[in-house]
Subunit: 327 residues, 4 copies
Amino acid sequence: MNSFGRLFRVSIFGESHGIQIGVVIDGCPPGISLEEDDLKDDFARRRAGGRGTTPRIEPDIPRIVSGVFQGKTTGAPLTIVFENTNVKSGDYGNLWDQPRPGHADFTAQKKYGAYNDPRGGGHFSGRITLGIVAAGVVAKKILGAVKVTAALIEAGGQKDIASAVEAAIESKDSIGGIIECCCTNMPIGLGEPFFDSAEALIAHMIFAVPATRGIEFGSGFAAASMKGSEHNDCIRDEQGQTITNYASGINGGITNGNDIVFRVPIKPTSSIGLPQDTYNFKEKTVSSLLIEGRHDTCIAIRIPVVIECATAIVLADLMLQERSRRI
Amino acid sequence: MNSFGRLFRVSIFGESHGIQIGVVIDGCPPGISLEEDDLKDDFARRRAGGRGTTPRIEPDIPRIVSGVFQGKTTGAPLTIVFENTNVKSGDYGNLWDQPRPGHADFTAQKKYGAYNDPRGGGHFSGRITLGIVAAGVVAKKILGAVKVTAALIEAGGQKDIASAVEAAIESKDSIGGIIECCCTNMPIGLGEPFFDSAEALIAHMIFAVPATRGIEFGSGFAAASMKGSEHNDCIRDEQGQTITNYASGINGGITNGNDIVFRVPIKPTSSIGLPQDTYNFKEKTVSSLLIEGRHDTCIAIRIPVVIECATAIVLADLMLQERSRRI
Amino acid sequence: MNSFGRLFRVSIFGESHGIQIGVVIDGCPPGISLEEDDLKDDFARRRAGGRGTTPRIEPDIPRIVSGVFQGKTTGAPLTIVFENTNVKSGDYGNLWDQPRPGHADFTAQKKYGAYNDPRGGGHFSGRITLGIVAAGVVAKKILGAVKVTAALIEAGGQKDIASAVEAAIESKDSIGGIIECCCTNMPIGLGEPFFDSAEALIAHMIFAVPATRGIEFGSGFAAASMKGSEHNDCIRDEQGQTITNYASGINGGITNGNDIVFRVPIKPTSSIGLPQDTYNFKEKTVSSLLIEGRHDTCIAIRIPVVIECATAIVLADLMLQERSRRI
Amino acid sequence: MNSFGRLFRVSIFGESHGIQIGVVIDGCPPGISLEEDDLKDDFARRRAGGRGTTPRIEPDIPRIVSGVFQGKTTGAPLTIVFENTNVKSGDYGNLWDQPRPGHADFTAQKKYGAYNDPRGGGHFSGRITLGIVAAGVVAKKILGAVKVTAALIEAGGQKDIASAVEAAIESKDSIGGIIECCCTNMPIGLGEPFFDSAEALIAHMIFAVPATRGIEFGSGFAAASMKGSEHNDCIRDEQGQTITNYASGINGGITNGNDIVFRVPIKPTSSIGLPQDTYNFKEKTVSSLLIEGRHDTCIAIRIPVVIECATAIVLADLMLQERSRRI
């Protein structure tokens, strides 16, 4: 299903070359200031344009079509849509014959049959994450003092990201990267033991973002090599602040007031400027494929704001839930 | 909430030193053979007993109390319970005064107040994962040809796990480890783009297992340093089998028929035999704490079967969902 | 929340005088033929125009903006929107001062505060049921042989509906009515005992339609005066067809293959052409209110198609669920 | 599925002659006083014993097995179970051959096949509503000042219920009845427009109670014969109290602070002491069936407390949800 959340519930819809993509947010509290202009900054961060991103720039002009009256949310479902303009769909017949490696061409065809919309990636397009960003902008307004910040900390295995990108452009290849996200000024008490642990809900949401390959919280994979005497965070004051923060601000699934810190590896863009081998279902043999057009060399550059917004959505939902608990 | 799943829905309940812990499985199809004895093998794998696990062994005797008639599931809710016998609860007052580092003592108290059941970890106890294992045994029966296998591949940073464990026992400390899980004979088409991607649902469930610090699928964190030309898996035949499997059998959130492979780091057990500093809320200062009793030196030894069963639950739910799609 | 359904999940959004109202259908199977024109007939039935309905006619032109490609559903979220054109919002300030009796003016203000959109009823408007009708048209295509038919069988207490309507128009008052809905060619096995009984899900959905005051299945309220020897339906053949059908085709929450028949009373339209007393919060006293404009004299005339579509949505969801059950 | 609720979530399980039946309540706030004895009164009301109820009396002894510590709810899942003792299951083979009219024998067999547990009605047994009553007792504690009261106001078409029951006992037949439920001291603002309207959620829950045939709120079916000028409730004071209450305390799906009043017809008990015709699948013809044993002559006598508890569950959930809304 294309929805996420219990009380602050986000549903996304649309296809890359369809008429309209968008997001419906159910359960948004009334009285939050919101206008289209509020989306501008986060949309700009997500948009292509710089080195390593596709030169094909979409306008991404949002329309708030329901749920806002006189500049404030009403409490009714909040819908934000984006018209897809100037889309030119090429001949996609060859995707059936020869699925692009790393893309969803093969799985979409198998799952949805000939009915899948293949134009520009259809519903699988990263463009659909616009809805997540839009919902995240709203969620951040619910978070109050809590700040969520994500950044690309490494690309192609290097901290000097610009040079890694240039090298990849030069070789007509693509590169991946690592995004780190930090949530500060966290309240104590969000999340539940087991299925609705704060980590479980964040991880669920993060894997909704295309191209993510993993997630680690705090000590993460390094925890496997640590001793308990090193890993246990010593509480140092009444507020529960700890000296180290290997737990990433979460114990037993519940936030402890320290920062939530997690890292997400992003795979290299699947579309590259080099010929690649893949199966040709028409010719019944592996043959070479060259994907036309211009692509993001490093899609990871555009994803931090999506991670940030996805995380804000989870935290907003947990904050609304926590409020309901006090009798 | 303590439930997970859409059509095959698992709810767990209970406390470490309470009367009964258990699991309710809603949506289990009728006609599956099931008896208490079927749980024996997976329970044995989860149970303590070997080197590096606590010498305090619980019997874990399951009773199927609803949903099975004449040895077959009926289609009604399937409930499996475990009586907690011979529990001796010590004085837990000191957990309020001085929360154990790495445990949920502090967060539980803040979230639930004085009402939290602290005895033996209460509802936060790893013992509650018995319900996940029980549900996983049932889920595996739904999976048919699909096999899910998890194993500890590293502990304390070493492949020679036994020696790592001995060293940790010697030093009265604890160590973490890495678990790898592999799902073979996978059908094509499970999962959805975005929020219900196969990775998202598996990750959600894996973080429901206490002590997990991360998850990576296929290439995982290494993907961040790879080029697209390396990372893209070349499809080699009609069935969609690929030469490499960096995608971990999932494209666009949907299984492609190749194995799902993922790795999970487990933190070192929080309870150790060494004194640790932590805040003392009564004395209003950091002071030393020595946790009494005997503990798992390497809890990661007992977790592979839990990861395996958690994964089976997700796949069973996705298989039931996929069946509903065909019109 | 503004969503309903487990596998065929419908979300509606919009306000009477907002920019766009619409519906998102999640979980619609791929391969169903659908074009805007398919909505024409059911929209015409819902539209005003005849005697007893408001002369204020809205165009209701649907746009399918996602989830359909080359005339077939794709399996991705299916979104249908309606632009609100030529809306003229009057001065709604007086709704705060003197809430209209029978309307949601008072409750909306109390629940959402000053943030509620009052223009034309805002999100409470019956116009939002356009989305239910649109989703119902899609649902009917999933139902196959099953037919759902609803009709107004009584208005203002009379079977001669036309004359009842004329009398009400004459008196500037409004009247209610009773709608009967019948589902034929039903498969056996839809629904569950208890919370997801076929009656429970249908009733839930029917009360989502504004102006409904009740629901009764089969024998309904008359059952209370019947004897078991009269009420029990005698099964007469292998297919489970019964001689009488007091059970309305449902036993133990599960469809038995006989017709589902239920009746729904609709209240008289709240807006009438006569002055009415109600509290004036500004003057702090009960005073008379005359609601301007033209209204439906008998809103029940326009509701049968909404009931029909609402029912089709529930049955489609149950049919998809039932399909998943077979192992 | 056998669960209901968003934040206060109730799951029931068990079979009439199984080992254990019970209820799991997820999302119960911590700090609520609860002991087994608190269930005594409502259980007594539900229990058989008086004229018109079966002489077969079950003990219904509850055990709180999780979620309560030192007499207070902990915030963890609250589980209450009932052992089934002294059950004697007769030969149920004949239920397959000749399904009892009015019972779920036929539908259960068709839906679950030979796997359905037929003993004493299995999971379809009214005995499973014990879990609803238990959860309702907890819910009532959340409701604070709100009182929910249900009573049988008519049986066999008569207000003199005792004489109607005696006549039915005499004739070895069974009779139905009408239950009226009233919720007083209601807060303003519970429920949502459309799918989660207060009526929709209550109706959903009420139809989870076996033997219900309908529901009407306030004016109910009489509304169909009323005029708007009669039906509209005149608000008479600042608190929104109205002179009449045809709306049953709900406008636009949202509670307005007036009492919620609804009526539910209960069908006559299906099992009667008279021979009845029904299809014999073995003999492939309609033949006579006499159901052995002793039955409730008027099951409606035992249902008011179930309706009351079911309603309390819905209101408790809505109250928790409403609390989360205030930002």
